[in-house]
Amino acid sequence: MLGYLLRRLTILLATLLAASLVVFVVLQALPGDPAALILGTGAREDTLAALRHQLGLDAPLWWRYATWIGGLSVGDLGTSFTYHVPVAELVRQRVLVSLPLAAFAIALSTLIAIPVGVAAAARRGGAVDTGVMGVAQIGVALPNFWLGLLLILLFAIRLPWLPASGFPGWDAGAWAGFRALILPAVALALPQAAILARVTRAAVIDTLGEDFVRTARAKGLTRRAALWRHAVPNALIPVVTLIGLQFSFLLAGTVIIENVFTLPGLGRLVFQAIAQRDLIVVQDLVVLLAGSVIIVNFIVDLVAAWIDPRLRRVGA
């Protein structure tokens, strides 16, 4: 396991570095001069040049990349062009909205999908299975931002139970903050849960056909015990892997969902930063988001290798 861990860590670092390079290059290649945007169209060329110098935009590319990465590695994300505060501070405030939202959505989706998927697999072809898979088929097709609108319509307008948008901040109390996250989390979670339930069902059905499940039944275990003790644990690897992959979709989903519910999270920050050509913020955020996807998938692979020692041998 140690050798496997070291090999994977090397790949992880190389991937993170490559990702940062891609983000940097793409952002430089795209049109749009931050200095011109900040000063407006009537700015004189010498003021533009002065601002570019102040923002460090006139330094050679390799130098800008090197100082950026050097800063990142010690937690210095640079200073925002438009907010004039350290990017790390901006991120710290927004993470307190986005991270609970993402965690809430993942927890919700997993708690719904696994029992439902297992139940459908246990009674394959039955009424529960047909019903659940029908609903899941529609759930997969629902765009989360439209689901968000429908939830606002139902639970904020028709039934005035929950706030339609906005976030009061955690200072307003844990419950007030949590209430504001319920609808966005459900909007994010349900389409993910539909996909996860389908995969769980397929994985459990696959393992139910394995010899060890037949052996378990033959030695006298009940159907229920064979299902929960032998089939489900063995079906978990594709499910855990998918939860890791869904994390990436979820992060992207928050960009739109935070716009639907006007939540002051990372998604909205990245959006505003793009609109204002606040390149350093965009650069940091995209790398942070991509980095967290890479790290989450790394952890998922480790968990899978821990569950199933056979996976440790795989070279690729």
């Binding site: 490559a18 793409v26 952002l27 795209l30 049109p31 629902l142 439209w146 609108l149 639907v260 991509a290």
Partner: protein, 272 residues
């Protein structure tokens, strides 16, 4: 099998309807989709306006129809870009193997680390909003998807005896890829195309919802949802129709994909 062929039929019918609606909208819609009629704004559904009118008095049915054409064409081009570059890349990696294969697959891994929609937002916002950039941004994220699936399916074909026979008969890599590999992996690709088409429709709707996709005055489903949100207290139905259109389009394609998968590739039928 019976259940699956039913999803094939339902999916094909929904998808064909969407395509026809999009096609018809190019020639005819009940009203011009961009015609503003402030006097009749936010009208409820009625015989003259079956889906009602929006905040500028535009006919919602006409906008939904026109939205189908913009949504489907963005998705189509995005998938063509993705498959057009991804399939040759994956086939090349599979044919060559070795470090070229490794490099291609590591590149795909890297691309998957970027949340697709987030990066599409970044590209369209910085390169300029509009349908063209939306097509490209979504298309770029289809490239690694197609490269990876083509490569893994093609690798299996490369291990088969008939490929060895073709090799012995003197065919080169390109010849074998075109004559033997691609026809054998076509079913997998067709299924993936329907899946990516559905995802592209959602991505396009998301981009136009945040104002980065198809630009007004040309209607798009995402934009309509965004407008509807502003008037959600007064005209809640406006937020329903475009969403139903997106969901139906995606549902139809997903069902079509599921059905095709079972009909084209019976080996995958087990367990699903």
């Amino acid at each position: 099998m019976r259940l699956r062929s039913r999803s094939l039929v339902v999916g094909a019918v929904i998808s064909a309807t969407m395509v026809s609606v999009a096609g018809v909208s190019l020639a005819w819609t009940p009203y011009p989709p961009t015609a503003i009629d402030i006097v009749h704004k936010l009208a409820a559904p009625s015989p003259t306006h079956p889906f009602g009118t929006d905040h500028l008095g535009r006919d919602v049915l006409s906008m939904i129809m026109a939205g189908a054409s913009s949504s489907l064409s963005v998705a189509l081009i995005a998938v063509v870009v993705g498959a057009g570059l991804g399939v040759p890349l994956g086939a090349f990696a599979a044919a060559r193997g070795g470090w070229i294969d490794d490099l291609t697959m590591r590149g795909c891994d890297l691309a998957f680390a970027f949340p697709a929609l987030l990066t599409a937002v970044m590209i369209t916002a910085l390169a300029g909003p509009g349908a063209g950039n939306a097509m490209l941004a979504i298309g770029i994220f289809n490239i690694p998807v197609f490269a990876r699936i083509t490569r893994s399916a093609a690798r299996q074909v490369w291990g088969r005896d008939f490929v060895l026979a073709a090799r012995t008969a003197g065919r080169g890599d390109i010849g074998i890829t075109v004559v033997h590999v691609l026809p054998n992996i076509a079913p997998v690709l067709v299924v993936q195309i329907t899946i990516q088409f559905a995802l592209a429709i959602v991505a396009d709707a998301g981009l136009s919802y945040v104002g980065l996709g198809t630009q007004p005055p040309f209607p798009s489903w995402g934009r309509m949802l965004n407008d509807a949100q502003t008037f959600i207290w007064r005209a809640p139905l406006l937020a329903v129709f475009p969403g139903v259109a997106i969901t139906l389009a995606v549902l139809g394609l997903n069902l079509l994909g599921d059905g095709l998968q079972d009909v084209l590739d019976p080996r995958l039928r087990r367990g699903r």
